[in-house]
Amino acid sequence: MTSPAILAEGLEKRFGALVAVDRCSFVVNEGEVFGFLGPNGAGKTSTMRMIACVSPKTGGRLEVFGLDVDEHPREIKALIGVVSQENNLDPDLSVYDNLVVFARFFEIDRAEAARRADELIEFFGLGEKRDTVIEVLSGGMKRRLTIARALINRPRLVVLDEPTTGLDPQARALIWERLRTLRDRGSTILLSTHYLEEAERFCDRLVIMDGGRILIEGRPDEIVRSRMGRSVIEVEDDPAVLDCLAREGIGYERFGDSVHITTDAPEPLIQHLVSSCNPSRISVRNTTLEDVFLRLTGRGLKD
């Protein structure tokens, strides 16, 4: 039987009194795209750092490709590629040198390193910048290069901590497209992101974390379906409308200047709302992962 790409059981990370990751258990299978979602401080980065063998766990069990992270960090690190949240490219080196120098850390010989560097430069559309010192690259290009660098050892597992944060839509789209190609080639991908719509489209399975714990795990569509109604009706946040909803016994949640009502049968409810509460604004849309996310992790819960 082959081992899963990642196996975590009761995984824990403490920093003194602070529990960053609180007895988390999950399995990532080979070839899967697995997402970590959650607000800042949820424990996503700590979890990924333990998987990448750069931060020792303080409790539980954690195996990558069947190898224990405490016993075999070198072997594991040779099998994975890591894209950290912070840019840690070498600012003194060119695009090309960033790749070949990094290849040496994996004991890849010079000729092979040069071949792979050119291949990755091509794949990530960095050809024109090949000999440019990376300090002058745009944020999107730097991120592409960071991902390219993480692939230099042809990893079986790629770990990306917020790969698209802070980038413009074009740069984000390009990165997702390249990650999709990687997925189609059979790489296992583990990523964290704040872009829930992208996570919903891209991840085979995901977890939502908060306060160091996994709140929910599953396929994005299943999570949405199991946790909420099919549709969200949005009306304006107005005292008269809220009174009316309470009177009619309709559950709702307040988000900013609007009120959300989730339901599996939107049409009759809309008619009922329009006739009895008379909101000045009403709209209906499909439930998204973001709605689940906000319900699980957000404040202002009113059911």
Partner: protein, 256 residues
């Protein structure tokens, strides 16, 4: 260090060398000019008012000290400011330990690189001093292995401060409390014997530079100064100890 330091340290070293060589024209100048100005100002300027010391002119007396100070500065500043920038601002260490390179190899690689810089600087200073005829050859070539040893020690000392410092600003404390007094009191510009005896003991007990100066002087002025094997032993023991401490301190800072 339980098998966590392997031949992979060479990758850390190579990375630093590659960056250094990118700007070699700039990097090669400071040691040459620093030494030149020291030699002119002290050896020939101040030297006119100074009597012979141990039977040699002041320029020849001060020349080995210029090399010793170069060894100290090259490695110490590399593993304080240089390493701190790589660790804190450029996150180079984070990128390295995401590969099969271990944190211990990063630390040892940094120390080795600091020592290499001391050797490079010495190799640049030596021809200059030879041109001015203030060192004797070929004995002075032994300053190169001395630079390696001294560079390892000061590289490790620098890394201890890097592990300790909360920010790049506080790195000035060890500089003015440790490096500067050492630079002027280690028998560099005047014989250490002219200090009161207790101060001499303190100097030899806790100033690595005093031992490097004493050895350097024995190599450049073989007739005037005997080789102090005690100093060699002191340097070797201190290097082993401080490298060990540097690895421990840096581990504690970086492994979280």
């Amino acid at each position: 260090m339980d098998g966590r330091v392997s031949w992979r340290v060479r990758h850390v070293w190579e990375r630093n060398l590659k960056v250094f060589l990118r700007t070699w024209k700039v990097s090669f100048l400071p040691p040459i000019f620093d030494s030149l100005f020291f030699l002119i100002a002290l050896g020939y300027g101040l030297g006119q008012f100074v009597q012979e010391i141990d039977g040699v002119g002041y320029a020849r007396f001060v020349a080995p000290a210029i090399v010793a100070i170069g060894i100290m500065n090259a490695s110490y500043f590399e593993t304080t400011y240089g390493s701190f920038v790589r660790m804190y601002y450029q996150k180079t260490f984070d990128a390295l330990i995401a590969t099969p390179v271990s944190i211990e190899e990063v630390i040892v690689g940094e120390i080795l690189w600091g020592a290499t810089k001391a050797v490079i600087y010495t190799a640049l200073i030596l021809p200059l001093l030879a041109v001015f005829g203030v060192i004797s050859l070929p004995g002075s070539l032994l300053l190169l292995p001395l630079a390696l040893l001294g560079g390892l020690l000061f590289g490790a000392i620098g890394l201890c401060f890097t592990a300790w410092t909360p920010s790049i600003d506080t790195l000035s404390y060890p500089q003015f409390l440790f490096i500067t007094p050492m630079m002027v009191l280690s028998g560099t510009f005047f014989p250490i014997e002219s200090l009161p005896l207790p101060v001499q003991y303190v100097a030899y007990a806790c100033m690595p530079l005093a031992h490097i100066v004493s050895l350097a002087r024995a190599l450049t002025l073989p007739a005037a100064a005997p080789l102090a094997f005690g100093s060699l032993l002191w340097l070797a023991a201190a290097t082993a100890l401080v490298v060990f401490v540097a690895v421990r301190l840096m581990r504690r800072r970086l492994v979280v």
